[in-house]
Each structure stands twice: as C-alpha cells, then as structure tokens.
Symmetry: D2
C-alpha cells in the first residue's frame, strides 16, 4: 500500500531547491503578477480520498486546462462529428503556430492547441447560442464534475487576454477564412478567453478530473459525463497532445495523460486509480510548469504508476 | 517611330479568341458581378499623348494596384525608415500566406503582398490619425498624380471585402501580435479595404503612373512626387514583387516593372518612355489578369521595350 | 479470464470483408510482389503462452519495426547521450519529410521517423565499426530477444531499397551536412536498409517484443536487455511517435504503444501483460497496415486492454 | 560621355575603408584560403573597349556564376522544354533550402538556386552523355563566349566541394526521388561541382558576359549564342533570382540583372551597353560579395545606368 501523503511530502522536499527555476508567463500583465515561487499538488483517489501538499487551496488561472472541459463537453454533444472540425494528431509545432493551420486548410491538428480549442469553443457556441449562455454552460459543467459551486473566472485575466490576444484572434480569423468557424469571430474568442480565465485550486482540479480516471463516470456521484470509450480517447489525446510541442517529452518522463496550462497548472490521470493536479507558476521553455512537470516525474518514478 | 495605336489594335485583335480564358475573382460577391469578357489597354507617353483600346473609360476595382500609391506615399513620408517595418524581397509564396510572416516575426517580405500593404497602410494611419482622414489623403494623392478629381471608391466592394476579409484580418492580427502594427487592427483593415476599393479606368491609371516612368516627377505638371532614386526603387520592387508568386514569370514574359490587382487591372512602366494600364477581369492561376498579362507580353514582344 | 484465441478468431472473422482495403507498398518492386490479402495476428503472454491466427508463420519484411530494435540497442549502449542526436517528440509530418529536419538543424524529432532511425543506425555503426559487423550485431540482438536463430534478411528487398532509396539518402546527407552523422553516408544507409530488410513472422515478432511488455527483461529467459525505466520510455516513444503522422490516431483508436512497418506489420505492447504482432500488407493512407490497425482496434475494444 | 575609368577609380577609392567588411566563405578549406581583402572590377563595352581596376587579372572561383553559363547552354539545347524541370520564380528562401523543394515536388524554383542549377547540369549530362564530356562542353562554351582558351577549373576546390557537399548531394537525391533527375546522382553532382570550380578573372568574366548585354549575340565576334528573346529572359531571371534571398535587395540597390558566386564574384549586365564583373571575396550575410555589391551600387548611382 503506497503512502501517498508521504510521497507528496518527499516531492515537496525535493523540489525546494529548484522552485525558482523557470519563468512566469508575462505576455499579459494580469498573469505576470502571480507570486512566482508557489507550489501545490493534490491527488484524488477513486473513493474520494485526497492528499495535498503546498498551497492546494490557492486558486490560479487554469488557462489551457479548460480545453479538457470544453473538449469533453463538445464530444458529449457532437460525438464523432466533432472530428470533422478538429483532428487528434500531435502538431509538432508550438501551441499557437499558424503555419500548420494554413497548410492544413484551417483544420487544427488537435483540440489542445489553441486553434483546436477555439474550434471546440465555436461548436459549443453554436449549441448554446450566445457568449454568456455558452460560458455559463461550460462553467456549470465544471462545477458539476467538481461537485463544487464555488468556481468562477478572473475578469482581469479575461479582459487582458482579450485585449492582447492578437495571435489567437489571427488563428480564429484564419479558420474563419477556411469556413471552419460557424460563429462570429469576436464571440468565439470572447468565450474562449473567458473559459481560459476560470480559476481553480489543485484541490478542485484533481477532484474535477476524477471522471477521466474512471472512464467517464464520476466514481463518487456515479454521474456518467461521457462514455467509457470517449473518456479513454480524451486520455489518449491528452497523452499525445496535452503539452504542445513537449508532449513526447512529458509522455517520456512522466508517462501519464495530462494537460498543462500557461497559468502553471497541470492535471494528470492515472487510469482506474486517481487524478492529480499540480500548480507552480514558473514555466519551462515549452510553456509548461517547470516544477509541476518535475513533481509528476518524481511521482511516477516513486510509485511506478506510469501507464507504460 | 512606333505606331502605338496600331500595336494596341493588333493586340486587341490577337486577344479576341482567348478573352474567355481565366476566371473572375469571386471571393466576394461585389467583385464577382463584373462583366467577365471586358478588355481595355491604355498607354500614356511622357508628353501626355495617350492611346487606348477597348473599354478604357470603364472604371474597375483597382485593388492591389492601390498598394503602389500607398507605398509611394509612405516612402515619401518615412523614407528609409519604412524598411524597418516591411522588406523588399520576393516572397516565394502566395499573396496572402501567413507562413512566411510567422517565420519572419511579423515583418512582411515586401509592400506588395497583402501583409506588407497592410503595414504600409498602418504607417499612413499613424501619420494621418484616423480612418477617414487617411483615406482622404490617399485618395487626394491619387487624384493629384492622376490630375483628375473624378476618382472615388466602391462602397459595396469595400463593405464586402471588410465582411469577408478574415484572412487579411488574420494577417493584421498576426503582425499586431509581433508589434509590427501601431494602430488598432480594425482601423487599419478598414482603411486598407477602402483604398483597395477605389475604382479607376485604364485611361486614368496609365495617366496616374506616369510619374514612375519619369523617375518621380510628373512630366506634364512637373510636380515631384518622390525622389528619382525612390522612384527607381519602387520600379525595382514592382519588378521583383509586383505579381505575387508569378513575379518571376511576369519579369520573364513581359520584362517590365508592373503591379496587378485582383480586379483585373495591371499597370506597367517603361522607364523614361511611358506608363501602361490594362484591364481584363478574368484571372490566371496566380490571381493576375489572364488577358492583361498576355497583352503586355505581346506589347513588349512587338515593341522590344522590355527593360532587359 | 479472457479467451484470447476466441478473440483472435472473432477478429479474423470480422476483418474478412475488408481484407482487400488499402494498397500494398509499391515504391520498390521487391515489396510490391507480396500477396496482398494476407492476414496474421499473434499474441505472446508473459508466461510464454501464445495465440495465433492467419498466416502467423509467414515471414514478411519488418521494415520500420526494426527501428524499435536498433533504438533499444543504441539506448543500451549510449543511454541518455543518445538524445543529443535524436529527440522524442512527435513530428507532425510524414515519415520521410526533410522540412522539419532542415528547420531543426539536422536533429530528427524522434527515432521512429526515417531520419531518426538513420541517426540511430549511425551510432551503432560508430560502436560496431563496419557495415557487416553492425548488421550482424543488430541481427544477433533480434535473434537473442526472439530466442530464435532462424532470422535473416531479404537480399532483394535490401538491394531494391538501396537502389531506390534517394529520399533516405537525401535525409542522411542533410544530417551529415549538419554534422549529425559520424560515419560515411553510404555505410550508414547500407546498414539501415539491411536491418529494414529483415524478415520475421508475427509469431516471431510477438515473441521478440515480450521484453518491452515486461519492462526490459525477457520474462521467459530472465535476461535483462534494457533497464525498466528505459523500457517504459521506449513504450512512451512508440505511443507518441510509432505510427508517423497517424500516431495520434493510433493512440486514439487502439490505445497501445506500437510500431508499424511499411511491409504491413505492426507490433503493440500491453504493459505487464503481453506483446502483439499483426501482419497484413495492404496499407492505409498513412502507410500503416489497414487491417492490422483495425485488428488492434477491435482487440482493445473487446478486451478493454487500452492503457487509457 | 561617361568617363568609366574615372568612375572605377572613384569606386576603388570609396571602397578602401570597408574592404575588410564581410567574411570569406569558409565552408570548404580550399575556398577559405583566398586572400580576403582583394578587389577587382572590370567593364566591357559593346565595342570591346574595357576598363579595369584592382586585381582584374586574378583568377578566382566563379562558383554560382557558372550557373549562368549552364543555364544558357541548356536553354540553347532544350528551349522551353527546360522549364518543365526548373521554374523561374524567386524562391524566398536561402540558396540551398530543401523545404520549398519538398513542398514543390522536386521542381526547383529557378536555375540559380543550387537545386535548379543541379537540374540544369543533369540536362546537360543527358545531352553530352558523361561527366568528362559534359564538363568539356561547358568549359568549351565558356572559352568560346570569352574568346579565350586559357580557362580551366581548380582541382582542389572541386575535390573539396565534392567531399563536403552533403547538402547539395541531399538536394540532388531529393530531386532524384521525385524523378526530376535523369542521370546518376553521383555523376550529376561531380559535373556540377566541377563547373562551379572553374576560375576566371573579372577581365575574363566581363568579356564572357557581353553576349547577354547584346541580346544573345557577341558584338565583337558576331556569334549568336542564344536568341534575343532567350537572352532577355536570362537577364530577367538574373534580376529576380540572381542573388538568392537578397535578389530583391540587389534589384533595389543596384538595379541591374546580375549573378553572384560564393567565391566573391558578381557579374552584371547593362542591356545594350556593357557587361560588368566585380570580385571581392568577403561576403555579406546573404552570401554575396560585400564590396562587390557596394561597388555595383555606387556604379549605378554615379552613372544612372539602372534599368529602372
């Protein structure tokens, strides 16, 4: 029987000397003002037991982790039809590249690069009709899988992203020019930036992801959010595409399906066992949490819980 | 002594069988409704003598030909400083590609691809402060070099371009993300689409370009619009970059500096001798007027007026 | 307890109607002459028990599956040093693309695209000195992990690949120009083509891969071929990069680490449980066995043995 | 009447302070050992009168300037058919890039990038059967247009290029894989490297190019080497593609058709007036002679002889 709390304590210990490595995202002022040397890690087991270390109640900007929620929701609504608008292949390119998108006629490689997530948001907007309602439905879904009503977004981050989001707006317009967006570009990016600006703690995130560890059904509430087959496929896409152009490296070093956000969070899934969330805002060269990635690598080394 | 009128007559004759080759630009409805089989050609000599064939009084959308006017105006204002924001190399890519722009950090290759012309418009907007005034100054400049107040823009084309201009808006946002646009993206593209929607006849266009044949000074009014050195360089950029990814082919077949527009117009310069304008709305595979290109090729073959 | 033989029988049954889908590799005559509608599937469990269906004793050209063997051998020799010469990221490009290799200065993305495997072969050549000895050592290694001396290569295929291998020779020369090959280009590609031309049956292949299902140690002979950590990482690289530009799709549909070859073979690993080999020479659009991929998808659906 | 000798003297004077700018090509030892601060310039007028400054009798490696001779010869043999194998568009890429070549299925953009010149050499090899005879015919052609038997190649440079020419060999193999080379790759590159290793002085080069200033016919010997139309087109291709990815810049600053070589030479044509050759081995960032380019820019500024 693994003593998870002890492992979290050890990880926290081992990471102390390098918590100042990496660089906080500073492309928008609202993200740059976060305390840089924070660290938190939470795991939630199938029976709801959870273990935490560090500032696990501190809310941070989940950013691209929200793409897992919107992808899940869109898969739930559209099923296979969704793949006519977005692929599931690693991109071999940075998260916000326009090059591949142009060569591939506006069909993004996967739902976890920015272009793909924008398309996914567009499909939700088509279903839920307007920006406010779509955001409400996305938030409602996150609250439901988290079993927690106390989740919202950071208005400053949202506004700051929207104001400085020229590259994402470029991606959206490029896809619109290829007829791969159905709604007004401005509505789509507004909704996209809004769900990226949702804030959660590692405690909340590890709880929220539990349904993916349990093949689509929350093991505590027994609610089925998505089919078993779809859940496995979300995990597969997280493994091959969840860390942009460092996805191979993450699979190599950590060996778990996961998704990172530029706010410093990472979620990871140990199928049939647990979901994990880490937070540390300093990023490595690929835009993923430096200490968060390290923490997960130490975790799978100590526990041998890699899927490989 | 060359009989230019006779040569124009012969060209018109020779082109009759192929006037139905090529395809009218149809990416916006307002352009698609032009009569497809029209042809006009005008030449204006240094003494103001002019020769015409076909519908040389018919106004058409000058589109990218307007880039020559805005480039001239911006060079006049900023001189060499302009080249910090836009290069002068052939692109080796289609006119609206985002690929190269991303690799080259938002600095467009030259002022005649869309991205480059958008940057040029941005610099004019910085100088003239707002959309309306900037457009008025561009139009005023065209009226002055044309010695003709009767020039304006087509509101339908402008609105249609603006409404469907997602790819150009993507280019502008991408450059904005690289800090290579100083003004609001929406203002820049509005101004850009507006000067592209100006309509002129071949008679007017061949008159307007005369200053470039005479190294910057209108030979009729003696007004100097740009220095001799700058005028030669505008001609050089037209030769190497004036026809998008068919610039080499145009230099090869026609051998004159020129600039085409998707509305079916082409202007060309015979240094120290004349300026030429042709119009025929059906386009070849590279987006240049099919019969217009042919007409110019026949012209330089018959007259041996290639610069090579 | 799963009845694997019955599952293989069912798969064979289900695939009958589509065994004529896809197209045999025909870029060299020696490969094109294979009987197109063959199918075989073999699984080998940790205790050595094995199950087979179809022509599981028929030898076929293992082609890129050999890259798993050379990568394993090179990792065993050079350990982490190997990653200075080859990465472990999905490429987002076809298997033989030169584009990314040029942008990334001759360092291939991963050991399973052709460029990466050529680099791996180069490192083995540096270690084993000459073409014949290097090939002998690679073959010896395969014979050892297969517990089977009766394996060799197809001289016709080898010669045919070498004679028509201009693109691979281009890749090798490009890497040589970046100083990422240490040996003579001709020696490297000769060795590379030779190990690609090795022939094995699914029975042999599923046996050979068992050490990867058991974290580096053959569970029958108890020989440790590679460390546990390295074995997991080979599996991770197979999952993210094992099927060229359809790796995401394979992870998505099959959910197992695997490696395909253009000869129609695919190997896959169920960690701690078994290794699988399939063979069917008709290929899908991405160059992977059409029926082989299908067979594995059906297998993980029926058994729920996906790693996700 | 322009005093050309005085202008050459002035240019030489003006360049003295910057003759140490730029960097000698050092990718092969045989080129790196040239005396770095040399300068020579020669012009040959239509009547055979010539003017020289600097070390105009010093022979240097003509390198890519030889591409003008092979292109001329191939055009003479194959006429328009040649353009099925090589284009005439600027590349927008460095001289030895494989990227575009792969996207464009092995058809090089123009005969002056390395890939294009290799294809041209391949066509000559098809016509003249073997390496030695093909080289002899190319050399014979150069001797004929130069009216000078005393021209040969540098064996050390040839051998050094061949030994270190991995990137060019990669280009050749890539084109072979697209069936755009008809001969054995090794024969093609051997011939290519051999004609690149020919050495000439500026005196000889300016004499050799005179036929291009006179529309294909040597004005001294009255021999027609190529048709008037073809000669103009060679000039057009030199203008748009003669300086790799600085062709636009050369047209902009110098305004003459020209071709540079990595050995430090540049030739330029003033149609109907003269041919010019400069030599100075230090190169600018685009691989063109630093002082050679400057000299030509000063020349056209002083004489107003730009074609624009």
């Amino acid at each position: 029987m693994i003593n998870y709390q002890q492992i979290l304590d050890e990880i926290f210990q081992e990471l102390q000397p390098t918590l100042t490595n990496g660089k906080v995202a500073d492309y928008i002022p609202a993200l740059a003002k976060v305390l840089p040397d924070q660290f938190a890690m939470s795991i939630t087991l199938m029976d709801g037991t959870s273990h935490h270390i560090g500032c696990s109640d501190t809310k941070f900007s989940i950013q691209s982790i929200s793409k897992v929620f919107t992808f899940t929701k869109a898969l739930n609504i559209y099923s296979k039809e969704l793949y006519r608008k977005v692929g599931r292949e690693p991109s071999g390119n940075p998260f916000n590249s326009l090059v591949q998108l142009e060569y591939e006629h506006g069909i993004p490689r996967n739902p976890f690069i920015n272009a793909g997530a924008i398309v996914v948001t567009d499909t939700l907007l088509s279903h839920y009709k307007n920006v406010d309602n779509t955001y409400d439905k996305i938030l409602g879904f996150i609250q439901e899988i988290s079993d927690n009503q106390d989740i919202t977004y950071d208005r400053d981050v949202w506004f700051s992203e929207y104001k400085h989001g020229h590259r994402n707006i470029a991606l959206a317009n490029l896809m619109k020019s290829f007829n791969n967006l159905d709604n007004n570009v401005d509505d789509v990016v507004k909704t996209y930036f809004k769900h990226c600006a949702i804030t959660m703690s590692t405690k909340e995130l590890s709880r929220a992801m539990l349904f993916l560890a349990n093949h689509g059904t929350d093991p505590i509430t027994n609610k089925e959010f998505i089919t078993s087959s779809q859940a496995k496929r979300i995990n597969a896409v997280m493994l091959t595409c969840g860390h942009y152009d460092a996805s191979g490296d993450f699979a190599f070093h950590v060996g778990l399906p996961g998704k990172s956000g530029v706010g410093g969070g990472i979620v990871a899934i140990v199928p049939k066992l647990m979901s994990i969330a880490v937070f540390s805002p300093r990023l490595n060269n690929w835009g993923n949490s430096y200490s968060g990635t390290k923490a997960l690598e130490i975790f799978t080394n100590k526990t041998s819980l890699s899927i490989f």
